[in-house]
């Protein structure tokens, strides 16, 4: 049973467009929601993260929107660039778990066409 569901599986966007990736979760004990970016042949790297006490967090062109009541969060990439072409993973971590294990979504492969 997948605890964090991610969609879409793949996404093609034109340069300058907005990329939107969605994630949903069931466990209300989750209290930390990071997004990781992975380029081919590399390990994932933290892109941006949010806690459920805020509804939105923005860093440059990247924004996380968080809907606690719907148990959903999404990544928005504004003015998408070809260099943003990568695989994106959402994740979640349980509060009170001192090991802060991450549970990942299945990933979204983003292609930004020039």
């Amino acid at each position: 049973q997948q605890q964090v569901k991610q969609s879409p599986q793949s996404l093609i966007v034109q340069k300058g467009g907005i990329s939107i990736i969605n994630c949903a979760y069931e466990n209300t004990a989750f209290d930390y929601f990071p997004w990781y970016q992975q380029f081919p042949g590399k390990g994932p790297a933290l892109l941006i993260a949010i806690r459920p006490d805020v509804s939105e967090k923005k860093e440059g062109r990247f924004t996380i929107s968080f809907n606690k009541s719907a148990k959903q969060f999404s990544l928005h990439i504004m003015d998408s660039q070809p260099g943003d072409s990568a695989t994106y993973f959402c994740a979640a971590s349980k509060g009170g778990d001192s090991s802060y294990k991450l549970i990942f979504g299945s990933g979204t492969r983003l292609l930004v066409r020039p």
Binding site: Y32, G43, P44, A49, R51, F89, F104, G107
Partner: protein
């Protein structure tokens, strides 16, 4: 500062063979993790360690063993490899949280393992 390194980068095993994957970090991190990445399944946690000499099972531990004899190293072992263990393996590390905010996990470049 190399961050997180993994050895080897690629490996091909035959069914039943054994091998050890090495993860090393030079950031003095307490926490280390081993994940496997399969198409359409994201990253799944195999085992993790919250400090030197400690290990714990993750989501998919069967068929794997780990050891953390030194703080900077985390070893993942496959005693009898199976085709189902064909995957890309990632190691990650994280420093001890200074409060209620968890810190990011730093990932290595991965090991691509094929079991025939």
């Amino acid at each position: 500062n190399a961050g997180v390194t993994q050895t080897p980068k690629f490996r091909v095993l035959k069914t039943g063979q054994s091998m050890t994957l090495l993860c090393a970090q030079d950031m003095n991190h307490e926490y280390m993790y081993w994940y496997r990445q399969d198409p359409g399944m994201g990253l799944r946690l195999i085992h993790y360690s919250v400090g030197e000499g400690t290990t714990a099972k993750g989501e998919v531990p069967d068929g794997y063993n780990v050891s953390r004899l030194k703080k900077q190293n985390f070893l993942l072992g496959l005693e009898s490899a199976a085709p189902s263990q064909t995957s890309v393996y990632f190691c990650a590390s994280r420093r001890t949280s200074g409060g209620t905010i968890p810190y990011e996990q730093y990932f290595g470049p991965g090991t691509r393992l094929t079991v025939t």
